[in-house]
């Protein structure tokens, strides 16, 4: 094999003949981010912390406002950032995941419908939302949805964060739709035939035989999408929704916008997301490996 500098994976020891080309190592499969996250050592946040601690000293050492003051400010704001900020991100991600899962399951089942128009329609929606940038979907929902709706004669204002939840649930829906379709297709056709020869209707085959075998296979990719979604919630700050990043910026403003604040505050946000998503990623990859061996 010709080596392209910087592109080809460096040759490893051992005889190449005995190591067949492993496609899964080279083709992205939707787990790229989760796999990377799970591969980080548990102490990597401490590395980030130490960088945070020394970073501002170098370029800004002459300023009177030092690292100590910046961390003091962070310490004061911390409870607020966690309770009003990060927990709100978690809430947004949980709600978007719930909506996306229910809608995605329906869309995924529509993708394997016997009726061609339904199938084509579901396929189209899946591809559309799966391949659109998340931020674009968020803005479309924010701008296209009405400010308020009339419920039982009373007009109710829809808060922006609800729109954010809907916006984020769209790509999740599309990706879960693909997860469902893929899981159904991964069940051997012999299972369909065995059930059909026992006079099961199509609906019975699907709900009693095929789908129960899918739940386990769907768990790792489902968790994978949750980790990705949780890390994508700061996108909401661009819509002005008051989640962690927005509140961090407001807090820094309240502290007179010293440049020394940037690294501690955003480093802290990074840390929170790491603490939340890292176990999910580890568990996802663990389950993915376990099921891949057993199935």
């Amino acid at each position: 094999m010709r080596r392209i500098p910087g592109v080809t994976v460096p040759a490893r020891g051992g005889m190449a003949v005995l190591k067949p080309f492993d496609v899964h190592r080279h083709v992205p499969d939707g787990y790229v981010m989760t796999r990377w996250l799970a591969s980080l050592p548990w102490w990597s946040p401490f590395l980030v912390l130490s960088v945070m601690a020394i970073w501002p000293q170098i370029p800004l050492a002459q300023g009177r406002y030092g690292t100590g003051e910046a961390f003091g400010a962070l310490w004061r704001w911390m409870p607020f950032l966690i309770k009003s900020g990060f927990l709100f991100n978690v809430l947004i991600s949980v709600l978007a995941m719930a909506i996306g899962t229910v809608a995605g399951a329906m869309l995924g089942l529509a993708q394997i419908s016997l009726y061609r128009p339904v199938r084509v329609f579901a396929w189209f929606f899946t591809q559309l939302f799966r391949n659109s940038p998340w931020l674009v979907l968020l803005f479309i929902v924010l701008l296209a949805f009405p400010f308020e709706v009339t419920l039982f004669g009373a007009s109710v204002r829809i808060p922006d964060w609800v729109k954010g939840v809907f916006g984020l649930s769209l790509p999740i829906m599309a990706n879960i739709s693909e997860v469902v379709r893929g899981a159904v297709l991964s069940v051997p056709s012999a299972q369909w035939e065995a059930a059909e020869s026992l006079a099961f209707t199509r609906r019975q085959v699907l709900w009693q035989v095929i789908l129960p075998q899918c739940y386990k296979r769907m768990l790792p990719p489902w968790m994978n999408w949750y980790a990705i979604l949780a890390m994508a919630t700061p996108l909401c700050s661009l819509l002005g929704i008051e989640e962690l990043i927005t509140l961090s910026r407001q807090a820094m403003e309240a502290e007179d916008n010293h440049p020394e604040l940037l690294v501690p505050f955003f480093g802290f946000a990074l840390l929170l997301f790491f603490i939340y998503c890292y176990p999910i990623a580890r568990w996802t990859i663990h389950l993915e490996r376990k099921f891949a061996v057993k199935l």
Binding site: A194, A195, A199, Q208
Partner: protein, 248 residues
């Protein structure tokens, strides 16, 4: 048209079947009377599986006719589900439902499809498990059973529907030589009880013993057929002779 016992329970007339350009069945005809056991033998790829899958409508056909209990299988108006309630099928790879226990596998179809009372079905399912000599394995999942045990659960699962005809597609081909016997014993008992069976098999000794009639297929046609005694002694076609000489 109503079926009476003096007519063939399964009748296959001049059936043609192609997958794309590949013609797999080129005019196959055979008849099975109630209570008869027929064996289909022949080289790999000759269309044996394709033929019996046509009988319960898993495959469609291009021309010809297949009737089961007087009903045309490939009549578009026919309710396939009604047909499949009368025809049981056992596969080479068992194809049990891995997320259900052995007993649940047996009970599923009568409860869901025939809407029979669950209690009553359970009693029958337990009796069937005993009949296939799997007493005590009711709570095991397919993954915890040997190939031979799984195959016997699969037979019990089909029998639970009280079918009129049973189709067996090389049901011992995936098994170890020791476990083949336990499955064959089960099938022989069924045959002796008068179940109509269509078997695709490579077990010549078994075919000779249980079959009322043997059909030899090669490249999509039935080359030769007859009762076992005459078939094995007097087969005249060179293709049959060659096949038998390789197998026996």
């Amino acid at each position: 048209m109503t079926w009476t016992a003096d007519q063939p329970i399964v009748s296959i007339q001049d059936v043609h079947k192609s997958f794309g350009d590949l013609e797999v069945l080129k005019g196959v005809s055979l008849q099975v009377m109630k209570g008869e056991v027929i064996c289909i033998i022949g080289p790999s790829g000759s269309g044996k599986s394709t033929l019996i899958r046509c009988v319960n409508g898993l495959n469609d056909i291009q021309s010809g006719s297949i009737t089961v209990l007087g009903q045309e299988v490939h009549d578009p108006k026919l309710d396939k589900l009604e047909l499949r309630k009368k025809v049981g099928m056992v596969f080479q790879q068992y194809n049990l439902f891995p997320h259900k226990t052995a007993l649940e596998n047996v009970m599923m179809a009568p409860v869901l499809v025939l809407k029979q009372n669950k209690r009553e079905v359970e009693g029958r399912a337990r009796a069937l498990m005993a009949k296939v000599r799997l007493h005590g394995k009711e709570g095991s999942y397919p993954g915890e059973l040997s190939g031979g045990q799984q195959q016997r659960v699969a037979i019990a699962r089909s029998l639970a529907m009280n079918p009129d005809v049973m189709l067996f597609d090389e049901v011992t081909a995936a098994l170890d030589p020791e476990t083949v016997k336990e499955v064959l014993v089960t099938i022989r008992e069924l045959a002796e009880e008068g179940m109509t069976c269509i078997l695709v098999t490579h077990e010549m000794g078994f075919a000779r013993e249980v079959a009322d009639h043997i059909y030899f297929t090669d490249r999509g046609v039935i080359v030769e057929h007859g009762p076992p005694a005459t078939f094995f002694e007097e087969a005249s076609d060179p293709r049959t002779r060659e096949f038998l000489s390789q197998i026996l």
